[in-house]
Symmetry: C2
Subunit: 352 residues, 2 copies
C-alpha cells in the first residue's frame, strides 16, 4: 500500500474497530449504539452555550482540573488518581500503549467489547481469549490457569451485559496482575460498583465514560481511576490537550446534574425489565443483562435485524460465533421501546 | 513506580511534553502559546450554540464526512486523502505510531516543535537531531548525508518561524523517504504553501490545525493530508470517534468563514512587521519569522521573561541550547502588542 518505509507490519495487518452504524437522515429509531435516550440536563445545554465564546481560541486546561476535582469528590478518591480522556476509548488505548504493548500477554473474555482486540493488534500485544460459558454466569476458569500480564474486563460485559460473582472478581484482582475494569455501563447495573470494593488496589484500573449514563456520546469524555503512579505513567503518553473546552464544561455540568441522570438511568433499568418481558413474550430468549441494552436471542435474529432496519429501527447484529442467534437492543425511551415491540409484533416471527 | 507488569521502560523513561502555561484568573496578556488574538467568526459561535441540542447524546460522525469534504474542496484534493484529528497533535502521534515507532530512525531539525522528541520516545523510535545554523537559513546538510526513515519538519519551523528555500525542500522530498510537513503556521507565511508544490508526492504528509489561523485551540481540530494509502493506514489506529460533534461543527463553520480568518491573518502578518520593528528599536535581535510569533533575542531574555510575567504579560522562554538568549512572543491584537511594547519600554533593558 505504502512504502517509505510503510507502516509497521502489525499495523498494516490490523482490522480496524467497526463502530455501530450512524445513519444519516431523520426518522430512525436508533437502538444500536447504546446511546442515552433522554435529553441533556438543562445545565449541560447551558454549559455548551456558555462555551460559544471568545475563550474557544485559548487552549483548554490540559489536565481538566475542575472536572477531575468534581469526579474525585463523586467517587471519593484523590484528584491525582483520575485521568480524563477524549472518551474512555482514549484511556483504554493509553493503557495498552503504556502497560501492554509488544510482547506482553493480554487476557480478555469472549465475547466482550471488540475494541480490546483491535487495541492489542495496534500495539502488537498477544491477545488471549477466554471463552465465557453460554450464559456468562462465571469468569472462565482458564483465566486463572493461564499466564498473562493484564486483563481487560468490562462490568457489565457487552454484548450480553453480564456481571460476575464478587468471588470471581476478588480472585481476579487477587492475582496481583494488572486488571482493567471498564465500567461504561455500571450506572445501569443493579449490582454494587466494583470501584467501591477495589478502589485502593494498586493493580486495578477503572475506566468510565460520559457517553452512556450521562448522554454525552457526541462530546467524547471518559476517565480512568487508578493509583497515582499509574496515572502519572499515562500522563506521559497523553496528547497535550486531549479534552476540549466544551466537553470539559459539559461533563462538569452533567456531573452537577447527576440527580437528573440517576433518575433517567433508573427509568432505563425499569424499561429494561419491561422490554425483557415483552421480548420474552414474543419468543426471544433474553439474557438478564445489567447494561442499557439487552441481548435477545432468536433463531431468526439476522432476518429480524434486517427487517427492523427496513422499518428504520436500528439494532445491532454481530456476525460472530456465539452471537449470531441474537440482536443487541439499546434500551430506548418508553416510546421507542414500544415502537420496537410493535414492529416485532407485526412480524410473523416464527413463520419465515 | 508501578509493577504488574509496570509500564514499558521507554514509557517510564519519558519526559512528557510541556505545554506553555495556561494562567488562571483574569487580566493576563497571553502571548505564550500562539493562540489567535481575534474573536471567532459569528458563524462559528452560532455553530457551537446549535450543537447545544439533543444530538449531543449521539456519537459523532466517526470520519468527519462533511468537514473532510469541505477541506478537500479548500485544498483541491480528494476527501479520501484527508484525516481529521483531535488536534494535529493526534495526527502527528498517529504518524509516529504507524510509520515510525520502534527501531526506525526519525530525523528532525533542532530547534523545532519539541513534541516530536516526546513522540519519538513514546514509540521507542531513534531520534536524529540535525542542528540548524544560527540563523536557520537552510536545511542542515547532515539531513541529506545521513540515513533515516522519516523526517518531521514544520514549515514555518518554531520557535523561530523559519522557512527554507524551495530547493532545499525539493531535495528533501526527492529523497523518497517519508516527509511530514507540519503546516500549523502556514497561513501566516508570506511564502507559498508547500502543499501546492508537493501535494501529490506519495511520500509527503501535510498536517494542519484549526488552533492557530482559525482560532479554535480550545476545540481541538487538526487534520492530515496524504495519499489515500497513508490515510487508510492511519484510520486503522484512530480512536473510533476521535473528533466530537461540537468541534466538527465549529471547524466547518470556521472554514465557511475563511474570508474573515484570512483578513485577520493578514492583520497578524502586518502586526508582526510592526512588532519586529518596535522590538528591533528596543535593542532586540528579531528573527524574520513567518509564523504568528516572533523570536526576539536579547542578552537579558530570561530576566525580561520574568519581569513581563510579573506584569501579567506571558511570553515563552525556552531554557535550551541556542534559545536561552531569546523569548518567543505570540503576535497579539494591536492593543496587546502595544501593551507589550509599552511594558518593554518602561524597563531599563540595558541597565540590569
Amino acid at each position: 500500500m505504502t512504502e517509505f518505509p510503510g507502516p509497521h507490519p502489525h499495523i498494516a495487518a490490523l482490522e480496524p474497530y467497526v463502530p455501530g452504524e450512524q445513519p444519516h437522515g431523520d426518522g430512525w429509531v436508533k437502538m444500536n449504539t447504546n446511546e442515552f435516550p433522554y435529553p441533556a440536563a438543562a445545565g449541560v445545554v447551558e454549559a455548551i452555550r456558555r462555551e460559544a465564546a471568545d475563550s474557544i481560541r485559548i487552549y483548554p486546561d490540559p489536565v481538566c482540573t475542575l472536572l477531575r476535582e468534581t469526579l474525585a469528590e463523586h467517587h471519593g478518591v484523590e484528584p491525582s488518581r483520575i485521568l480524563v480522556g477524549n472518551g474512555s476509548d482514549e484511556i483504554l488505548r493509553m493503557l495498552f500503549h503504556a502497560f501492554v504493548g509488544q510482547g506482553r500477554r493480554v487476557a480478555i473474555v469472549r465475547p466482550t467489547y471488540t475494541l480490546f482486540e483491535v487495541l492489542a493488534g495496534m500495539f502488537a500485544a498477544n491477545i488471549q481469549n477466554h471463552e465465557l460459558a453460554p450464559e456468562h454466569e462465571r469468569l472462565p476458569e482458564s483465566l486463572f490457569d493461564e499466564k498473562w500480564d493484564a486483563c481487560f474486563l468490562p462490568l457489565p460485559n457487552p454484548p450480553l451485559g453480564s456481571v460476575f460473582p464478587d468471588g470471581d472478581l476478588d480472585r481476579l484482582v487477587g492475582t496481583g496482575r494488572m486488571i482493567i475494569l471498564d465500567g461504561a455501563y455500571q450506572d445501569f447495573s443493579e449490582y454494587a460498583d466494583p470501584l467501591e470494593r477495589h478502589a485502593d488496589r494498586p493493580n486495578v484500573v477503572f475506566t468510565r465514560t460520559f457517553s452512556k449514563s450521562y448522554g454525552l456520546a457526541g462530546l467524547r469524555v471518559g476517565y480512568g481511576i487508578a493509583v497515582a503512579g499509574v496515572i502519572t505513567d499515562l500522563h506521559r503518553i497523553r496528547d497535550s490537550y486531549n479534552v476540549n473546552r466544551v466537553s470539559q464544561a459539559a461533563a462538569l455540568a452533567a456531573l452537577e446534574a447527576s440527580g437528573y441522570y440517576r433518575e433517567r438511568c433508573d427509568q432505563i433499568m425499569k424499561s429494561r425489565r419491561q422490554l425483557a418481558q415483552d421480548l420474552t413474550a414474543l419468543g426471544f430468549r433474553v439474557h438478564p443483562g445489567q447494561a442499557n441494552f439487552l441481548f435477545a436471542r432468536h433463531p431468526r435474529a439476522e432476518i429480524i435485524f434486517r427487517e427492523l432496519k427496513g422499518q428504520k429501527i436500528l439494532v445491532r447484529y454481530f456476525d460472530q460465533a456465539g452471537l449470531k442467534d441474537g440482536v443487541r437492543i439499546t434500551i430506548g425511551g418508553p416510546k421507542e421501546n414500544q415502537v420496537l415491540v410493535n414492529a416485532l409484533k407485526s412480524m410473523d416471527l416464527n413463520g419465515y
